[in-house]
Each structure stands twice: as C-alpha cells, then as structure tokens.
Amino acid sequence: MSDKNNPFFVGYLPVPGPLRRFLLLASVLVVATFLLTGLLIGSTQDEPPASGFRFDYGRQTVTGVIELTPYPLLRVTQGNDLIKPGKTLMLTSGGKAGVDMRAMGLEGQLATVSGIILQRGTIDMMQLRGGRQGLAAAEGDPPEMVTEQLGRWKVAGEICDGKCLNGAMRPGRGLAHKACANLCLLGDVPPVFVSTQPIEGSDFMLITGPDGTRLPDAAYNYIGQFISLEGDLERRGDILVLRMDTTTMELIDG
C-alpha cells in the first residue's frame, strides 16, 4: 500500500526527487542490458565454412558432355586454366532453380557452359548465365564418358542443397536453414550428401532418388538432419553420385 516514504509517480507531473535517482539507475540498467546482449550475441556468431561465389575468378566458360542423373552434370572436355578436362561440374541457374529444363535436350551431347563458380574446397558447381549464353550445344562429336560403378554403400551424414552448401548462402546448411534448403531442392538445385567420413576419397556426393529420379518427397523430412542411408554409388569424372534406396533412410541419434 501507499506510504509517505514511497514517492508517488504521476506521469504528467515532474518526478519526485528520490524516485528520480532510482529511475535513472533503472534506465542505466536497461540500456546496459541492451548494450551487453547486443555486443555478446553479435560477436559470438559461428563462423561459416570457407565457401562462396568466386566473382574474383571472373566468368568461366568451358565445354563438355552433359549427363542427366537426372540433375545435369557437365563432364569437362575442353577446360581452361582453372577448370581442367576430367573435371565434373554440377550446374545451377541463378536463384533457387536448377538447369534441368535447359539441359533436357542436351543429354549425352557436347555443350558449352558459362557462369560463375561456387567453391567450397574444390570447385564443384557453376551458376550459369541466363539463356543460351549460359548453356548451348557445341559443335563436335561427344567423346565416350566412363561411369564407374562402385557398388552399394551405406553412408552417414546430411542431405543439403548443393548451392547453399557451396556458399551461395552463408550459413547454408543446418536445421535453421532447412526451409530455405527445401525451397532450393524443390527448384531442382542439385542435392548433395555430406558424409561424416570420406567415401572413396570424397566427403560429399551428388545424391538422387532411386533409378535416376529426383530427390523423393520422403527425403524432405530429413533435410539438414543427421541420417544414414544406403544406395548405389558411382563415379562420374571427379564427382560421386549416390542413387539412394529411399526405404533405408533413417535418423541417427545424437
């Protein structure tokens, strides 16, 4: 209840003296709270992995054979200083879209691609320019490309969208990023499986549905989570492709 020693505050009247000191202290505390939390939370954000668009390399143009896994790959036959023959590139359009439609008619044929490199460790993905400037059939007979079958594997790790994983967005993986990754994958950006242990010398691989289909709907519940699954592994140039057996997908605890 009110008592005489308790100064009484009325909003539209001047604040009584003793209360003024208390309120000054409270104000300082409130401001200090914002100052400290802002500084602490801001300066303890996790560092994204070394990955991103390499605008510094400039636009790259190379030629090779298009393969549909169904996600299109380019097996480089005529490269340049940065991208050597024997290299395999995953391809994407600008934004959250793959190049499936654009590559459709070019399966097994020579094509020239042009765009910006996305790099995380090795160079594995190119974001193509729009239209025929980014992807067009090339003159010449396509050479025979070898696909090496590596048998059935059980792998543990995480399904990501290959574009954000390669640094198109930083951060670009994990559960807080899941909705964004789903959107990319729905747009046919190539999905990538990041394995906890290197498989045949690589800790990531392009992942597809069974029998050359797209990522199955069932996989969307597992994006960004630690899972294990089985599938048929193959090597196309310097990239691994895993055709998953949808029924073997399961969560791993921890």
Partner: protein, 350 residues
C-alpha cells in the same frame, strides 16, 4: 483522462521514457550490425541479410523480455511503476523490430525461388511431425501476428471500444507470443549453434520472465487484499483510524470486486478500486489536489462521486458507506458510476 482521442498524448516523462528505450535498442542494433562483424572478422562472413535478421530477431527477443519483466517488477517494488507507465510505446517499437527481422528472412531465405515468398514460408518445410527440423518459422509468424494485434489495439480508443476486461484478455496474448518466440528459437537457431553464448542469454532471459512472474504471484497471494465479511449487506473494512489522510484501504467485496475507502479532509468515501482507464488499482494511489489519482497513468477522480473533473468524462462506481462504532462499513452493492455519496465524518478521537 481524454475527451477526444489523439494519437498520443505526449509529456516530458513519455519523451524521456521513449528516449531511454530507443537508446537501448539503437545501441543493441548498432553493436550487433556494425561493430560485431569487425570483431568476428570472419574470412567468409555471414551474409549481411542473415546477420541483420539475427540482430533484429535477437533485439526483439530482448525487448519482449524487458517488457515482460516490468509488470512483475512493478508489483514487487512500486518504484518500478513508472516503467509501466509508457510500456505501450516500447511494445509498438518491438513490433517494428520484429517485422524487420521477418522481412530480412523472407527476402533472403524465402526469396529467389519461382514461388511467392509468403507462400514459400508456408509450404517450404512441412515436417510438422518431428521436433528436429520442425518448421519453427510458424511460431515466429504466430508471435508476429499476436504482436501486431496488440500494437494495433494498443491505443486507448480500443480499450474504450472493447471495454477494459476484453482489452486485458486480448492483451494477455503477449504471453502466448512470448512462448511462441521461445519455441521459435529453441527449435530453430538453438539446434544449429556451436557457440552457446546466445543460448545462455536466451535461457537467462526466459527464466527471468518466468521467475519474476512466479515471485510476484507468490507475493500477491501472501499479501493480497483481504475479503470483507458480509453482515446484512454491509462489509467491515477496518477501523476508521487505520486510514491515513489522503490514502485508502482496499477490501474485496463478496462480488469479487474491490472497493477503495479513501480519507480526505477527515472524511471517508468509498469508490471502486478499478480505474476506468485500464483497471489500475485506485486504492494504491493517493489524493492529489483533492482528487484521487491513479498510480498507473494518473487519471483523477472526485472521491465523493467517482467522476473525473471536467472536461473529462470518466466515471467509476461509488459505494454507500457508514460508521459502525469505530469501524467503517461499505455496502456490498455498487452505485452506478458517478453517483454522489455523502462522505462520513470521522469522529475525532483522542
């Protein structure tokens, strides 16, 4: 005490209040957005859009936490009451910060696809059946909708229009919004972090809100207003001598309503304890310039008839009052708001 509704009735204390809060928020955002990237000096930095989204999200969380701590603090120590005074402006500020957070997210994570970004927000992730990977954004959407409703109805016009009890009930949505934010963060960013500084601050903030509310509720429960006994419709309040000049005693009537019995110039009057503005506890206020003054926002009433002085039109119910020996009694039935009741003179005792 408003005759007509203007957007905000400003006074010096409101300016000061808003200035302090604004300084806090601006400092937070400035340190987070401009200073911390330098401190982090990542080789491949977080995208500015995500960094900014995090800054505004975390800021909205801290703001909500501070707002929700003020209520119980004011109940625990009345010197905090002035912080309650202009809390609504702070709440409205929070909505703008939260909207900025959401738009950074929408224009980044949910942009660049062939779908509409608002639709994408709803369909991109539909793993509702699991905790890890749950579409935590939906809790953010819910919280933001609640905050928007609260901000839109924060003006006194809506309180009058909806009546204070309904308004109060709507505004307890703030607690659901806060719970939703807790879920939003727990199922979202906390699942991904390596550095747990934010986790500690986040849990600390949420525990402070919960702990202060529990403590204030316990104090209320222990030292709350008492119920008066009903004798033929008349309720014993206290001894007349117990009420100090300019102050009141509060009792709970059989109806559950509270009555405040004030002493002014040696005479006693009884009015409803609930302020016509926002149900503030009039009995915890005091008489200033012959008028009972509400401790929350300073609305004033003539204690003999429960009316605000002209030109204001607010009214609270009055109660019939009588002396029974040394004791004061109030009749359990309220008079219509604004009814004049003759005050009773306290007999001067030695």
């Amino acid at each position: 005490m408003s005759v007509k509704y203007i957007p905000v009735q400003w006074n010096r204390n409101k300016w000061l209040y808003d200035a302090v809060m604004l300084v806090g928020v601006v400092l937070f955002l400035w340190l987070f957005i401009f200073v911390s990237p330098e401190l982090l000096s990542h080789e491949f930095p977080i995208n500015p859009q995500v960094h900014n989204a995090r800054a505004f999200g975390a800021c909205a969380f801290v703001m909500l936490t501070v707002i929700l701590c003020i209520g119980p603090l004011a109940r625990i120590d009345r010197r905090f009451l002035p912080l309650l005074y202009n809390r609504r402006h702070f709440g409205v500020m929070t909505v703008f910060v939260a909207i900025t957070h959401a738009s950074y997210i929408l224009n980044w994570y949910f942009a660049f696809s062939s779908s509409d970004k608002y639709e994408a927000l709803l369909f991109a992730n539909t793993s509702y059946g699991q905790l890890a990977g749950f579409p935590f954004e939906i809790f953010g959407v819910f919280a933001l909708l609640c905050l928007a409703v609260l901000a839109a109805t924060s003006h006194d016009f809506w309180m009058k229009f909806l009546t204070p009890p309904v308004w109060k009930r709507i505004h307890s949505l703030i607690y659901f919004a806060y719970l939703a934010v807790v879920a939003h963060v727990s199922l979202g960013i906390l699942q991904d972090q390596q550095n747990h500084t934010f986790t500690v601050i986040f849990i600390g903030g949420a525990l402070a809100v919960a702990g202060l509310h529990a403590y204030a509720a316990m104090l209320d429960w222990r030292g709350g207003d008492e119920r008066g006994a009903d004798i033929d419709g008349w309720i014993d309040i206290c001894d007349a001598g117990d009420i100090r000049e300019g102050f009141a005693k509060i009792k709970i009537l059989p109806s559950g309503d509270r009555v405040a019995v004030f002493r002014q110039d040696g005479r006693l009057s009884a009015i409803s304890n609930a302020c016509a503005h926002q149900n503030g506890p009039l009995g915890e206020g005091r008489v200033i310039d012959c008028l009972v003054t509400c401790p929350w926002h300073g609305f004033q009433y003539d204690v003999t008839n429960g009316r605000s002085p002209a030109p204001f039109t607010e009214m609270v119910p009055t109660y019939n009052i009588r002396l029974n020996g040394a004791g004061v009694q109030v009749h359990r039935d309220a008079n219509p708001p604004g009814t004049y009741v003759e005050p009773v003179q306290i007999e001067v005792t030695a």
